[in-house]
């Protein structure tokens, strides 16, 4: 919404208030002013001139030598190149010293040997947007088509001195979508008088009823419809003042018949429509829902296919307008129009919104109907238009408007006590202060003691409940004046849940290991949604997908964070960042059975690392990341949170290296995986060796025991023993450890692999693996023979189970 300050001044006295200050006051009280435009030009050296004589320049074919009366003693000679300049015109003359928009400074000059004292201007040269310049003046100077005073400043005449506020209106303040509403608002802010139009017309004896009848088929979609016949009209250009008003609001003037409806729309917020009566084709207006699949051609020349949820204005047979949105071509006002059918109606906001959004036809009219126009102002707006048709187009108004339906509205009453307002704002407004605010807002009210009853007028349809009144008092009192307090109720301890606390600890741990937290999109491609899904997630179902994705890039909800993390690695590598370690902690979205059932959101953490991990540049050390780097990070995480052991079980998963992948198993349950990307996948992403894990944090958190059993530190010494076995290369360390652990009870405490060897001096297909074992008894010192016995038991069992040889 654009609000012209010059126009606003017609209704409310804001003379002397700087526009910036006004804008801030409006912003702080109710409606955000997004910008202030203009003034375009306000220069007293730009005046009205009268072309006394115009002849061709002696030395130039395309130039004219004009003698211009600029209200001074002598005529000014001005050289003008415009093709349309002629003797007898009132024009805009920029005198020497004037400065035009764009910085051009007017000086006395000689053009092809002839003196020129200024410039006769086109509208574009005066800074008027080309789209507002009438076609016939686009290539030439501007010529006044009405009487003006020679020598008077021209900028105000063309409204170039105006400033315009650009409002960012919230949906509740539809009352400010028109100049009258803005006048109410500004008058309330500054406690000023209001001068509003009170239109009157001379009604001819002839009755509109003789020309037209109105029938409404659906009162819900169209509660009220008024039709007025205006005859004897002459189509011409609107007067300058009206054109100025439309231009200030961003609307292009067309002709007087069309401009008047637009003017009233801006002034009252009531969209009107003028049909050419002679082209309407019947003596009856029938408003009705469209038939399924019915078509009509709107003013813009497009054929629209309609549904029963759309409302049509018809002549009983064929549609002439899509109600509240756009008229039809057949009954459009044209240059030869002499009689119009003026429509003043109330259309249901939702009906209009459906039509405008489905047909992508947002207009000044639909924008207002959608938000709900003021029912009680429909007739007054029609009267205002009629007044202007009479005054500016020579129209004859035929009797009373033909009406159908009702503009009555369910009255709203809001009753409250003074303390209810103060308790919600946190103020101590007195009765006087509250009465003053209600009066400034011009809201009818009754006050008896502490008790108030406000009856909001229909222009303030947004006021319905107590809280709406709280807002009116708060904003008019001024948010700046409300004190700063903090709630004084009972105190809460606040804080984090176990899950939130553990989540924070996971973040802290992973960051300490050197990983950077990444954030990727939850919505991914269909293809990516299928990859790297941890095996414990049921993958026979398709990932959750959007009904109407905007792009295939974000159509499905992720089942793993890994695919998008890999894209992040690739993004960095493409920018010459090669050594990368990322993790992301967030939800994946598991589809649930059944329609309209929420997916299960599972908290997971995933990581991806690539490039050099150990690096000592000038000492020549450069070790790329490997499986055990990432495994070490995971083991650290598990040791930190869990008592139970997480087992890494060799596995083969899609997208991962078949020899370097493991499932993570906690108490026999799969909780994720770790592995190297398959070389093909690495190649697809332009990555060197890259390792990833994807872990179900919820399952891990379920096993975290936050009150561990304390065990006193024993004073009895531990005994350490080393054992090395030669076994078949495919036997895993874990398999041997399991036997050692079982046989080593009750005194074996820890097992640690300290050497693995395969290669030279070792039989083909064999490897040596060495363990360090510690034995301890918490109650007493262990005897050597007790340990020797356990050691022997371990050796025998490992030998028997895996055909192992004890080494050295």
């Amino acid at each position: 919404m654009l609000v012209s300050i010059n126009w606003l001044k017609e209704y409310v006295d804001i003379e002397g208030i700087p526009t910036g200050e006004l804008a801030e006051a409006i912003t702080k009280t109710g409606v955000e002013v997004d910008g202030i435009h203009g003034p375009i030009l306000d220069d007293e050296k730009i005046v009205v001139g009268y072309v006394e004589a115009c002849e061709q320049h002696p030395n130039a074919d395309k130039l004219n030598l004009c003698q211009v009366n600029v209200g001074e003693d002598e005529l000014a000679q001005i050289v003008c190149g415009a093709p349309n300049v002629a003797q007898g015109q009132y024009v805009v003359a920029a005198r020497p010293g004037a400065r035009l928009p764009g910085g051009l400074k007017i000086k006395k000059a000689k053009l092809r040997g002839e003196a020129s004292e200024g410039m006769i201007c086109s509208l574009q040269e005066l800074g008027v947007d080309e789209k507002f310049v009438p076609d016939h003046q686009k290539d030439g100077i501007f010529v006044f088509d009405e009487e003006v005073q020679i020598g008077e400043p021209a900028c105000p005449l063309l409204n170039l001195d105006d400033q315009v506020l650009e409002l960012d209106l919230t949906p509740n303040r539809a009352d400010c979508l028109n100049m009258v509403g803005m006048a109410y608002e500004v008058a309330a802010i500054y406690n000023k008088e209001l001068q509003l139009p009170s239109p009157t017309v001379t009604k001819a004896d002839e009755s509109s009823n003789d020309y037209i009848a109105v029938r409404i088929e659906n009162k819900e979609m169209n509660p009220y419809y008024g039709a007025w016949i205006i005859k004897d009209l002459e189509v011409k250009s609107s007067p300058l003042w009206l054109r100025n008003r439309l231009i200030s609001a961003g609307i292009r003037p067309i002709n007087n018949l069309v401009d008047i409806t637009n003017y009233v729309l801006l002034e009252y917020g009531q969209p009107l429509h003028a049909f050419d009566y002679d082209r309407f084709g019947s003596k009856e207006v029938v408003t009705r829902p469209a038939h399924e699949g019915e078509t009509m051609t709107t003013l813009d020349g497009k054929e629209r296919t309609l549904q029963p949820e759309h409302l049509l204005i018809t002549n009983g047979e064929k549609p002439h307008a899509l109600a509240g949105v756009m008229g039809g071509q057949d009954s459009e006002v044209q240059d030869d129009t002499t009689t119009i059918l003026l429509e003043a109606a109330y259309f249901d906001p939702r009906t209009v919104r459906k039509a405008s959004s489905q047909h992508n036809l947002r207009s000044e009219a639909s924008a207002r109907f959608e938000k709900g126009v003021d029912l009680t102002r429909v007739k007054e707006a029609a009267m205002r238009a009629a007044e202007l048709y009479e005054e500016l187009a020579g129209g004859t108004i035929l009797g009373e408007m033909v009406e159908e339906g009702s503009t009555d509205r369910e009255p709203v009453q809001i009753t409250f006590e003074r303390h209810e307002i103060n308790e919600r704002i946190g103020t101590e407004l007195s009765i006087d202060q509250m009465n003053d605010i209600l009066e400034r807002l011009r809201l009818p009210y009754e006050q008896q003691g502490e008790q108030y009853t406000v009856t909001p007028p229909s222009r303030r349809n947004d006021l319905r409940i107590l809280e709406d009144m709280v807002e009116e008092f708060a904003r008019l009192y001024g948010y700046d004046h409300i004190p700063y307090t903090l709630p004084t109720g009972q105190s809460n301890k606040g804080g984090l849940t176990k899950r939130q606390r553990l989540t924070r600890e996971v973040h802290a741990y992973l960051q300490k290991t050197g990983l950077n937290e990444a954030l990727t999109y939850s919505l991914t491609t269909e293809e990516k949604s299928k990859h790297f899904v941890s095996p414990e997630i049921q993958t026979d179902q398709e990932a959750v997908k959007l009904m109407m994705p905007m792009t295939d890039l974000h159509s499905h909800l992720r089942l793993s964070v890994i695919p998008e993390l890999l894209s992040s690695l690739q993004y960095n590598v493409a920018r010459n960042q090669y050594n990368l370690g990322f993790y992301e902690l967030g939800s994946v979205y598991l589809p649930n059975e059944g329609k309209d059932v929420l997916p299960r959101e599972e908290l997971r953490v995933a990581a991806a690392i690539t490039g050099i991990w150990e690096n000592h540049p000038w000492q020549g050390e450069k070790k790329p990341v490997d499986f055990f780097v990432l495994k070490g990070i995971l083991e650290g995480l598990f040791n930190y949170f869990l008592k139970d052991e997480v087992i890494f079980e060799k596995a083969n998963l899609d997208g991962l290296h078949p020899g370097r992948t493991a499932l993570l198993k906690l108490n026999g349950e799969t909780v994720g995986y770790i592995g190297q990307l398959h070389p093909f996948v690495q190649k697809d992403h332009d990555l060197d060796d890259t390792y990833v894990f994807d872990l179900n944090l919820e399952k891990v958190f379920n096993h975290v025991d936050e009150t561990p059993d304390y065990e006193a530190i024993t004073k009895y010494p531990a005994i350490s023993q080393d054992l090395a076995f030669v076994v078949n290369a495919e036997i895993t360390a874990k398999e041997i450890e399991d036997i050692i652990y079982e046989q080593g009870q009750p005194y074996l405490k820890t097992i640690r692999v300290f050497d693995v060897y395969q290669g030279e001096h070792m039989e083909e297909g064999k490897k040596s693996i060495a363990f360090n074992l510690t034995f301890q008894n918490n109650e007493r010192t262990l005897k050597d023979d007790e340990v020797d016995e356990l050691r022997e038991r371990i050796i025998q069992k490992v030998k028997a189970t895996y055909q192992a040889e004890l080494r050295g």
């Binding site: 409940i465 809280e467 709280v470 807002e471 700063y484 709630p487 606040g494 950077n516 919505l523 109407m548």
Partner: protein, 344 residues
């Protein structure tokens, strides 16, 4: 024999002085003090001496041995010191060479911003509440006073999954869920961070996924001034003690009255510049008193209970605070971007 001992002593001292390594000093020790050394040799000849001479020569021999021992030890200390000095010299490194790089990971700036706000409110007795990112139409809209057909819930603005399910468009459904769970009893003091989704084409200022953090306080006697005081604490915490705040009317379906909070522009200090669009103020968040319909739908008596709610975008806060120019940086994970915020 006296002379012999004296000359041994002289000889020893000369050789000790000449010894320049631990090894040669050790040789001197063996040569003079060893089992077959020169002193022992002299002492072996003691048998030939008279009874009177024996103690005298014996004592002298002891004195000579002690002196030689002392000299050797003194020299040994000297040699050790020299050896260490040489070793230290040999071990000298260029301390200006770079050290071994360590792994320095860190948090994402958005998560850090969210945690910072969480912690501020935890300190004021709030709990952190979370909810699903895929929501029902009821919690995302209806429970927040956005009935079906309301203009603000256009299908065009949301990612629907079915007619009834959608990617939540704000974190406000967490408020509705938490209120419901309280079964009409206050106080409710929560701060709700999370990811939200809108039908926007990604560009420098729009992202189809972004984060929000909201606060809700419902109790008896909660006022607009309490909201103002709370937001003032928040604004100063985030942007500095010298920032001013202002509230101005706005509209959200789930609050009434609704306000937006601006802070005074840090760049121009309120004089007006391009950052604040020449208004001197920068919009930070939306807030208001919880709409009675929202309270009633969640089972709260809106005559007895009032509450305030506020919500903001961590992206916007980080962008303002650090001058980040493109919202897409938050989601592309360029390490050169991420690492800049580890220390903040």
């Amino acid at each position: 024999m006296k002379e012999r001992l004296q000359s041994i002593k002289q000889e020893a001292i000369t050789e000790i002085e000449a010894a320049d390594t631990q090894k040669s000093l050790q040789d001197v020790r063996v040569q003079f003090l060893g089992k077959k050394g020169k002193i022992t040799e002299v002492l072996k000849g003691m048998g030939k001496l008279s009874k009177e001479e024996r103690p005298v020569i014996g004592q002298l021999a002891n004195e000579v041995r002690d002196e030689i021992t002392a000299s050797i030890e003194e020299k040994a200390d000297l040699l050790e010191k020299q050896a260490i000095e040489e070793q230290l010299k040999a071990e000298t490194i260029d301390v200006t060479l770079p050290g071994r790089p360590t792994h320095t990971g860190g948090p994402h700036i958005l998560m850090k911003t969210i945690r910072d706000i969480e912690d501020l409110f935890i300190g004021m007795g709030y709990e952190v509440a979370e909810g699903p990112e895929v929501e029902t139409d009821y919690y995302n809209f209806e429970a927040l006073n956005l009935p079906k057909g309301h203009p603000a819930r256009d299908m065009q603005d949301s990612f629907y999954i079915t007619e009834e399910l959608l990617m939540r468009t704000h974190t406000s459904p967490v408020q509705a869920r938490t209120l419901n769970a309280h079964e009409g009893r206050g106080p409710v003091k929560i701060i709700c961070p999370g990811k939200v989704y809108r039908r926007d084409t990604d560009d420098a200022t729009h992202s189809h996924q972004f984060t929000q953090i909201e606060g809700l306080y419902v109790d008896e006697h909660i006022t607009m001034s309490d909201l103002k005081g709370t937001l003032n604490v928040l604004a100063k915490h985030l942007f500095g003690e010298d920032r001013e705040i202002r509230l101005r009317p706005s509209f959200f379906p789930f609050t009434e009255p609704s306000v937006e909070m601006d802070i005074s522009c840090k760049v121009c200090n309120g004089d007006g510049c391009s950052v604040c669009k020449h208004t001197g103020w920068i919009e930070i968040l939306g807030a208001g008193l919880v709409h009675p319909n929202v309270l009633e739908m969640a089972g709260f008596d809106s005559k007895k209970y009032t509450g305030f709610a506020f919500g903001m975008g961590p992206e916007r806060i980080a962008m303002l605070k650090y001058g980040i120019e493109d919202i897409r940086h938050f989601y592309t994970n360029d390490v050169r971007f991420l690492k800049q915020f580890h220390q903040v």
